[in-house]
Structure formats: C-alpha cells, structure tokens
C-alpha cells in the first residue's frame, strides 16, 4: 500500500497540485474577475432590476438565436452578464444592470475564463482529454488518500503532531500528515464530487443505452431542460419581468423565503415557439444547486413546465453544490479556501518528503531524482509564480485593443502564464537547491507589483476600494500583499538555511579532522 501511495504520488502530484491550486483560487473567481476586468467593478446592491426595461432592448437587438443566456446580478457578481454563441465561440458581454449601458473595457479570460477551466480540464478540449486527465487525477487523489490513511493507521496519536525543530525530513512528513488529516473529509469529498459532476463524461454509455444514443430525454428528466424548434414566424414576446416574478413566487412559496432566479435561458427569442426558462442554478441559501426550473412560452407568458428534481438527482445536486460552493456563506467560503491551501501544502510536502528521503547517498546525482526535484519546484512555486505573472500581465496592459504579434491582451496574459511556468522548470533544473528561495522571492515581487499596478491603472488602492464598496478588489489586493509578504519572508528563511547549509558543508571540507 505504501508502494501504491508513493507511485501514485510521483505520477500525479505535480498536476494534482495544479488542480488544487486553481480550484482554491476558483473559490473567489468572481472576485478575481472584478479585479482583472475593472469595467465590471460595480458596488453590490440589493435593488431589483427590470428585465423588460434593461434586457429587452439588448436581446431584441441580437436577432434570432437558438440560445441566449441571461446571468442576473448577484452579491458576488454585481453586473448583468449576457452570453450567446457567436461565430463558433461563446460571447460574454457585461452590462450595468440599472442603466443597461454596456460595460466595455479590457477583455480578459480572467478567473472564470482561465483559472476555473484550468482546474477541471487544463484547457485541453480536444476529445475531452483534459476532462479525462482531471478524472484520472481525481481517482489518483482518492487512491492517495486511502493508501495514505492505511499507511498511517495509528492516526489518532499523530493528529496534532508537527515538529518543526526536528530534522527537515521529519517535520516535512509531520506537516504532510497533519494537513491531510485535519481536512480529510474535504480532501476526499472534493475529488469525489468532482467526478460526480462530470459523470456523463466519464460514464457516457448508460445514457446511450437507455435512449438509443439520445441524451435529450435523459437530461429533460434530470434537469428539466426543454428543446424547441423555431417556428420561423415572429411573434410578440410577453413580459420577461412577469415571467421571472411568476417563477420566483412559485419557488418562494415552497422555500418560505424570497427565492431569486439567477440564470434565464431564452430559446429562439422573437419566434412564435420561443421558450423562456428561469432557473435557480446557484441558490443563495441552499447547498443543492440547479434543482428547479420554470419554463414559459415566451409569446403568451404561460407556464409550460414547473420542474423540480427527483430524489436521487436532488442528492446529486447537493453533492455538486458542495463542490461548486456558489451559495452565500462567507465563513464557509473562506474555510474552503483555507482547506484548499492545506491541500496544496499536503501535496507539496508529500513530494518534498519523497525528495528528502532520497537526499543522502548517491540518489541526488541520478537523473531521476534531479528531474523530480526540478518538477517539484516548477509545479509548486513555479505554478504560483506563473499565476502571479498572469495577474501582473493583466494590469500591465490596461488598455483594450492592445495587440502584439496578433495576440490580444487576453491571449498575452495566457502567454505570460505559460512562459513563466515553463521557465520555472528550467530555472529549477539549473539552480537546484537555490531555486526555491529565488522563486519565492519572485512570487513576492510579482504579487506586490500586481497590487501596485492595480493602483496605478485603476486608482483603486485598498482604501479607495473599501471606500467605494468594492470589497472584491479590496480582498484581492489584500491577499496579494499578504502573499507577497509571506513569500518574501519564506524566501529569506530559505536563503538563510541554504547559506548555513553551505557553511556547514565547507567547514566539514576545510577541517576533516575536527569534523569527526
């Protein structure tokens, strides 16, 4: 079992760290979005918006489309977002929800477009390979946790033990054990629920068997989704506000508190057969997600379907919601963030422990060891550094429409990430033991620069952001500055340790007689 733990760990840890890191950041993806796209920085407000007054003009202008999605404003996403397919790609546009004015500015993939998809698919969309990789790694994580527990069966005794004063090898193992044990349910449930969320990718055949290859009837029963063909003739559309209010009053009647729609799907808007589906995909006071949907015939405003999920789907919805954490609960959200960071420490210390165990003797000179050592640095501090570079590049090019070699600003951010990440591996291979300290220092400098650049380009330094009610911006800046301090402190500590290691080594060389 220990063998299986080590083998799986060596194979999976680097990419698992990436999944955990990107997943942890995704907890605050909406906040990072606002930081990276200053034109969407609106103060949150409780005032309800009128869809007929604000959205109708925009949607009527878009012309006949099979699907238009309205993402209504929420506490964490104060702007109105409208999404639709346009020449092969999915377009997202942001609007001020009270004036209807489009918020244009610096385009960016930001957190919801880059960081979050990285977490579950590594941006490899060809034949769903990215999803399969994520699934494989998730199973690997579950195997690692199970074999890890088995290897440390006397867990109760070791639960609170962390001895930083002992040998580096011992204290690394202590930290690895502690970070994995204290949040074990979290570390286990997140990969498992991740697999549950994408079950139709990993186990596609059941749907095919039951409905002859058609997933539509299956998803209609599961999610209440409806499909419709355009009639080809135009019709007058009923009031969107009335439809949404009708849906919300139905839900509020069942829950006992005001329930709000968050995603509205307009199918063939403007057509006689048009449908409007209002959903509560991410309810604010429930863990379970996307259990209810009300579908209206858009031309008459009548309810065509009032969908409520079946029991097992409800359980699946609860488990999925446990993973997505889009509900309103700030303490829980920060706890998830903290637990995610613990997971990152768990994975990193696992790799470090493996390296430390093989540091004595001939091992450090083998290419296998050196590769793993460079991989460890690159996939941990290197990845964090690349993320910082992503943010710096975002603020370093503040203007929309900026292009270099045909690459727009959003692509340049991704390039910055890719270049810095790849370079970090080479840096680690060349600088060896010193790479840790140097990359930590770089992280500190990049993180601090990102916060400073935000101030310079938007004027929203932390105090100004707090003043304007832009808590998302304040929080991201605060985290950047805290991380910078921590990274620089760690870098300094590692540097001191490296120097003292060199000194003891040179003393041993200089006076071989005394050293005995």
């Amino acid at each position: 079992m220990t063998w299986l733990h080590n083998a799986t760990g060596l194979l999976c840890s680097a990419l698992l760290f990436a999944m955990f890191w990107m997943g942890t950041l995704s907890v605050f993806d909406r906040e990072i979005d606002q930081w990276m796209m200053p034109h969407t920085r609106l103060a949150a407000s409780d005032r309800s918006i009128s869809l007929d007054a604000i959205v109708r003009p925009i949607v009527d202008e878009l012309g006949p489309r099979s699907d238009i999605y309205l993402y209504l404003p929420k506490q964490r996403e104060p702007s109105l977002r409208i999404g639709y397919e346009d020449s092969g790609s999915f377009k997202k546009r942001y609007f001020d929800p009270w004036t209807g004015k489009e918020l244009t500015g610096r385009e960016s993939l930001a957190a919801t477009g880059f960081i979050f998809p990285f977490h579950f698919s590594f941006h490899i969309r060809w034949m769903n390979l990215g999803y399969w990789l994520a699934g494989f790694l998730s199973m690997g994580m579950l195997v690692l946790l199970s074999t890890g527990i088995y290897a440390h069966r006397k867990i109760i005794a070791e639960f609170f033990v962390f001895r930083p004063d002992k040998s580096l090898r011992r204290s690394t193992l202590d930290l690895h054990n502690m970070t994995s044990l204290v949040a074990l349910p979290f570390h286990f449930l997140l990969p498992l629920t991740g697999l549950f969320i994408f079950f139709s990718v990993y186990l596609p055949w059941p749907a095919g068997i039951l409905f002859g290859g058609e997933t539509e009837p299956l998803f209609a029963e599961m999610y209440g989704s409806r499909s419709v063909q355009a009639a080809g003739r135009r019709a007058e559309m009923a009031s969107l506000d009335d439809m949404i209010r009708a849906a919300e009053s139905r839900w509020s009647g069942r829950t006992g508190y005001p329930a709000a729609a968050d995603i509205v799907r307009l199918q063939h808007w403007g057509d006689a057969n048009a449908l409007v589906t209002a959903r509560r995909v991410f309810p604010s006071r429930q863990v379970a997600m996307d259990r209810e949907a009300v579908t209206f015939a858009a031309s008459t405003g009548e309810v065509v379907q009032d969908f409520k999920s079946l029991p097992i789907r409800t359980a699946h919805a609860w488990l999925s919601g446990l993973h997505f954490i889009q509900f309103d609960h700030w303490m829980l959200r920060w706890l998830y963030f903290g637990a995610g960071l613990l997971g990152c420490v768990m994975i990193a210390t696992g790799l470090l422990f493996w390296l430390r165990s093989r540091e004595r003797g001939k091992a450090p000179n083998t290419p296998g060891f050196q590769t793993m050592a460079a991989m460890t640095v690159g996939s941990t501090t290197g990845l964090i550094l690349a993320t910082a570079a992503f943010l710096v590049m975002n603020r370093a090019i503040p203007h929309a429409g900026f292009k270099v070699l045909g690459q727009d600003a959003a692509s340049l951010e991704v390039w910055a990430f890719a270049v810095v990440w790849s370079t970090s591996f080479f840096h680690a291979a060349v600088r060896k033991e010193r790479a840790w300290s140097e990359q930590c220092l770089a992280i500190g400098l990049f993180a601090a620069s990102a916060a400073v650049l935000n101030w310079v380009t938007t004027g929203h330094h932390p105090a100004a952001a707090a003043d304007a009610g832009l808590w998302a911006v304040f929080a991201v800046d605060a985290m950047l500055l805290l991380s910078a301090l921590a990274a620089i402190a760690v870098s300094h500590r590692l540097q001191c340790r490296f120097i003292s290691m060199l000194q003891t080594a040179s003393q041993a060389d200089a006076s071989p007689v005394d050293a005995r």
Partner: protein
Amino acid sequence: MEPLLLAAATAAAIIGCALLALSQKRHWRATCAAVRTPERSRRVRLLGTASTMASLVFCLLGNGLSFAVLLWPLLLALASILVGLSLSIAPGILRPLAALVVRDRT
C-alpha cells in the same frame, strides 16, 4: 449565519480540539504541570469531545443541517491546524487552558 452562533461554534471547536490534543501524553507533558493519570486524561478527552459536540450544535442552530454538515468538519480542521501549530511553535498558549481543566489535587 448568525455571527454570534458562528463565533461560538468556532470557539467551541478550538477549545475542543485543544483539549483533545492536551489529553495525549506528548502534548500533556508540554503544557500541563499536573501528573497525567488515565482518569484525568479521560476526563479531559470527555470535555474536549463535549466541546466539539457543542460546536456542532451551534452550527446546526445557526445554519441548518445542510450547511452544518459542511461547516462543522471545516471548523474542526481550522481548529486542529491552529492547535497543532500552537503546540509546535508556542505550547505556552495552551497552558492556561490546561491549568483550568486539570487541577492538581496532590
């Protein structure tokens, strides 16, 4: 999400984890002046368990079952990390708690 209940749940979790840690031989020696007898350590463990259960009750009262199921284990994780780090870096922090709970009746 009443803030008071949340604070109480957090405090109860921290105290509970601290007591559970203290009941173990290694940590008792680091924080407690009194002699560790099986009876005393059992009592400390019982108090620790009771405190963590109280934390669960506060979670349920403030958040309902659905959220409490997520909140409580994560609060315990936070508490465990804080207690674990305290014990390794500055065990003195937990001495007052140990003194409060274990009275040396020699």
